[in-house]
Each structure stands twice: as C-alpha cells, then as structure tokens.
Subunit: 381 residues, 2 copies
C-alpha cells in the first residue's frame, strides 16, 4: 500500500506500451504504476514516476522490484517461469502465476494442455527432427505451420513450410518447434476475459482481428456478422480456459474462425493488442480491468460504449517527409473524433508506434475512418 494515498501499488515487469497504458488506468484508480524497465527511454518509463531500471531475467532485480508491491504483473511474457515460481515461493503476489503463465510462454505446453482440456485446437505435433514434420505433413498435406515454442510475437517465430527441404533448414537453426496444420480460416477472432483471484470473470465482446504479414492491423468490436451462438461459445471457451488454467488478470484467446466453428490459435495473459479498442469502446478498459483483477477488486462492466468500434494500429512509415507531429495536426483536422494513442517510440518502419480508435453507429463507416486515420499517421497522406 502507498501510505500517502491508502491505495495499493501494482508493479509491472516491462516498460512497453502496455505498461504505459496501464499507468493511465492506474492514475484513475488513485495509484501510480511501478515499472521495471530496461531503459529510461522505454515507452512506459517516459511517463511514469516510479520507474526501476533492471532486467526481467535477473531474479535479484525482480525480487527487489517486488518489495512493497501489493501485486506484481507483466507487460510481456518473457520473465523466466522459474523466477516467477521463486517469487511465488517467497510470498509475492505475482499474476498470472507461473503455473498459468507457462501456457502462454510455451506453445508446446499450451497445445498439450488445451488438447487435454478438450478445447478446439488445430492438429499439431511436437517436433524433434525433420522427420516429425514430414510425417505430420503426410497426414495434413503441405504447407504446414511451424512455430517456435517460445518467444514469438507479431509474426516472428512462425513459419509456413512447403517442403521437407524448408523444414530441414528451419530445424537446422536449432529453434525448439511445434508443427500445426494450416487451418482453412475465414477470419481471426479474439475473446478477452479477466479473472480475479476470487474467481470472478468478466468477458468482453468477441472481436475480429485483421492481420497483415502476421501483424495485427485492425480490430473490429464487436466482430461483424458473428452469430450470437458462436460469440457466446467463444466467450465461454475463454472463461473456461481462464478457470482451468488458473489465470489471474487478462486472458486473450486468439481464435481462428472456420466454416465449422472456432479453434484456438494462441493465448496471451496480459493486456493485449486485440483489446486496445476497450479504452474508449468499453465501459471499463482492459488496462483497468487487468489492475482490478490482479488486485482482486470486483470486475468492471465490459459493455460497449458504441455500436461499432474499430482500432487500427499505427506502424512506423518510411522516414522522411512529414514529421509525426505534423501528421498528427493533419489527422486532427481531418477527423476531430479520432482517438489517438502514441507510445512514445521512435519511428522505425513496421514498428507499432501507436494506435487509433474510432467509434460510431456503422461498422463500415467507422472502419473506413479508422483506416484513414492510421494511414495519415503512418504515411502522412
């Protein structure tokens, strides 16, 4: 507890944009987020007073950081599982716990556990050598999807393999892998829930996520044209997984929608890009919800604030031309209702430097506005 305010202190390991936006939510709750950042120039470190510099792989640094925190949580999934377990052993309230987070950190463990739980998953297999991939492809047909078991994000750590030769070259890199069938998907969805230690769960409306080159570029809330039945099934699946895995905090379940139903693609246990729309688009943002969950507050309303909400990521465009500040002027002049979120990051081509959210009554119109707003910020035109 912060004795100056009588309110709790949450520590977040990692100083990226998720911590930055969580801090905005913490301020409303009377708190100040404490972050463990790699550098004072990290996205969150630029805007937070209570910044500690250190590495998320350094157990001593984590231990020191956790002191006097009412709860510790994460901006990313890269803290070694054994460090989390060690802190748990010392009585630190750290969420999600090591037993849950493991399934977001290790795709092999995740797939095995989901299959055990009877959750819908693509056909998959652990990979020890090229022969495993070839045998799997003999059943499903080429191409197949290979995934690094750890550390992938934004399309990194995922490969489409079309032949035994390609499989051989990937296996030769020594990356621990699993292999999955290439699911004949209609589109991607995401179901976001938050769960508290008490066991209360709040589910957000299911959204459609639109990817380009493996990177999420747009999120549509609610997912257009999704049947109530399938939406409820996706929410229920996420709720069941949150309970079964013992998640505390947010759980984002990335889903493929096929002609016959939904299958789980990935799990994330933190605020997630597929939930950024909730800052303005839901009564309680995912960032506040995550704080409420890890502090065991009752969950907030997940109701939509408008019939159609679209979030578009802003990627760094080519350098040169208009500055980012000039682009912002033009966007504000073009669309006074667009909501902008910049992450305080240097512009690099392809890097997520922010997002925009547009709300309205008509999904087609809202989507066009959001795409135009993101384009203005990316390309200055």
């Amino acid at each position: 507890m912060d004795t100056r305010t009588g309110l709790p202190v949450v520590g977040m390991v990692g100083g990226g944009q998720l911590a930055r936006m969580t801090h905005q939510a913490a301020i409303s709750l009377g708190q100040s987020l404490r972050v463990l950042a790699e550098s004072p120039d990290d996205s969150a470190a630029l805007v937070i007073g209570d910044v500690r510099i250190g590495s998320h792989t350094d157990l001593a640094a984590l231990r020191e950081f956790a002191k006097d925190c009412d709860a510790v949580t994460f901006d990313h999934e890269h803290v070694p599982t054994e460090h989390i377990a060690a802190l748990e052993g010392e009585g630190v309230r750290i969420y999600p716990g090591s037993a849950a987070l493991l399934f977001a950190q290790d795709k092999g463990r995740m797939r095995a556990r989901l299959a055990e739980l009877g959750a819908p998953v693509p056909r998959w297999r652990p990979v020890n050598d090229t022969a495993d991939i070839a045998a799997f492809a003999a059943e499903t047909g080429w191409p197949v999807i290979a995934k690094a078991t750890r550390g992938g994000y934004d399309g990194k750590g995922v490969w489409v393999l079309s032949s035994p030769d390609e499989a051989q070259r990937l296996v030769d890199t020594g990356t621990p892998l699993i292999v999955e069938e290439k699911v004949p998907l209609r589109r991607e969805l995401a179901a976001l829930v938050a769960r508290s230690p008490f066991g209360q769960v709040a589910a957000y409306p299911v959204v459609e996520t639109v990817q380009r080159d493996g990177i999420c570029v747009e999120v549509l809330a609610p997912a257009p044209g999704l049947s109530d039945e399938r939406a409820v099934a996706a929410q229920q699946l996420a709720i069941d997984l949150a309970h079964a895995l013992g998640v505390v905090g947010l759980l984002a379940v990335e889903l493929f929608e096929t002609d016959t139903g939904i299958v789980v693609n990935e799990l994330a246990m933190r605020p997630h890009n597929s939930g950024h729309w909730s800052i303005e688009g839901a009564r309680t943002s995912q960032f506040e919800q995550h704080l409420r969950a890890v502090l065991d507050y009752p969950m907030g309303s997940t109701a939509l604030t408008a019939p159609a909400v679209v979030m578009a990521n802003v990627l760094g465009g080519a350098s040169g031309g208009m500055s980012i500040d000039e682009r912002l002027h033009h966007l504000f002049a073009a669309d006074p209702g667009a909501r902008v979120h910049f992450y305080g990051k240097q512009v690099r081509p392809g890097r997520k430097i922010g997002h925009v959210t547009v709300l309205g009554d008509d999904m087609t119109e809202v989507r066009a506005r959001a795409a135009r707003a993101a384009r203005w910020l990316q390309e200055g035109k």
Copy 2:
C-alpha cells in the same frame, strides 16, 4: 520538442489533480506532461516522471521550468500576472497569456471588462469602504454578495452580507473586495470552450452544476431541460468571451440561470471541475482539448458519448471506519459501470479527493447512480 519522440512538451505550473488528469491525456498524445509542483507528494507529482519542484511565485523557478517547453500552462490561477508577462517578454509560449488570465485572476477586472463587452453580469460595484457596500445594498436590497477580488475558490473568498455591520467586519479584514447583487437564480450552469492560438474554438455541451456550501458536488451533462436557444446562447457567450479576452486553452464560464436568461458568475481559464465529466462523457476530454489548444492542434470533437452523463465529486468523509480501498471494493461490487477517479490525496473532511462519472440513457437514473457512488466513496455506505 522531446527528441526521443518527436512530439511536443507541455509544462504545467502546479501539481494538483488538474495536472494529474492532464497527464493522462498527454500520454495518449505521445507526450509526458512536465509539472512544476510544490512537493513530490502533490497529486500530479505522484504519477509523473518529469516533475520539477519549485514555487509558482518564484520567477527564476518559472523561467528554468519553461526552458525547452513547447508551451507552458497552468493547473491553477495563482501565478503572479507580472511573472507571466515577464516570460512572455522572453518569448515563452505561455497560455492563457497574462492579458487574458488577468480576468480570471481578478474579479474586479473581470466584472469591469465583461460589462464593457456587454456580457450579461450581475449588478456589481468595486468596494473601497463599507459605505460603498451600504450604498450598493440601498439599491439592490440586503443581502448582497461580497467577493475577494483574488484567490477565492470552492466557496472561499465569497461572503453573503446581511447588514452594514457584517460589511464593516469584512472590510476591516483588509481583503480587497467587490460587491454583487444576490442573483435570484434557478440554478447554475457552465459553458466550457477551448480556443487555440489560431483562433479555432470548440464548445462543449452546456452543463448544470449543483453546489452545496459553495462547493460543486454534481455536474449534469447536458443540462437537463435547458432550451436549445438558451444552450446556444450560453455557448455563443463563452465563444465570444474567449475571442474577446484572447484566451488560449480552456475557458469555463460559470453562469447563473434566472427566470429571464443567463448571467456570468465566474471565469476560469484552465481545465475545470465542471468539465471532468468529459473524460468519459465527451469524445475529447477537456484535458486533451486543453493540450490541443495550447499546442495549436486542431480541436477535438466535443460530442457527448451518451445521452446522460453525471459527474459527482468525492469529498473526504469523516475519518475512521472503512478505508478508502475497502470503499472502492464495495463501490465496484455495487456498480460495475461507475467510473472512478482518485487524485492521490490524503483524505481530509470536505477535501475533494476524487470524482465519479456515470453514463447512461436516463438522467434521473444516472444521477442517482452517481450520487450513490460518490456516497459509497465518501461514507462507505
């Protein structure tokens, strides 16, 4: 400009809750607010990285603070006018400027200027001695309202005088005063606008403000039952005053509604308690709007996000009983849709420690929910 981000730096003099909430808005715009606070325990200083400690009455401290800021603005109106003028003379972009802010700082100057502009104001008179008050009351009848020309807020610096004896006792304190008629008001309203250096103005929906013991306890947006004609007149008045006084940033015009129209009570030139509802209740919050104005960005949409929005202030309750954190748990359980804003302040009876906002379709219901939420946080029941 912050060279790490390519985005501007705004400095705010004063570390209160207005700076705290402005920082939340700054984060979305890719910025970090810089504050000049009296103490590291000030409301805003608790949550901001870029805090400088110093006094707003120390010209050298202000000058040092303003270095490398793209614009400087205020959390309160207590910076000496001559210091602002000195910084302007040195080329600092400081908003609102001294020529405008004077009319928010000095009620005598404000009344004189508004009268000159033909704005509707209560009958009033400058006060040099008790005879001035008595002569004025002879025209209007007792009681009359005396106001300190400088430094009043939240009911402080305002006195209801019922007799020459009471007037004498007040005049004897040496406080510089003006005297005004007691306006037969139906209710109080507020019109909030923002104006940029370019001269663009954005007007928010006119709200009703409900006072108790001179402190604003509730704000209803939009003002219930206000005719379109009178709402537009109030907005136009605020726009005209913003232009005439050369305001840059926010201008809040506190109004009395009488049987025959509106009259101006007070002016404030900063984010204002009557605009806190806009964080969730308007597409662009007053805090972001103020930043956009002082940076000469195009203004954001002021559209309501729900048909009925109510903000209720949370005052410190009696000590003892439930802690503030326990109260928050109970409120969240009772109303999952209530939006809470705590200012990081020690609870002291009567002190504004936060506010809650509730949104919905029906003003009566929304108002009841907001009042109940504020009562939970104040009284724990």
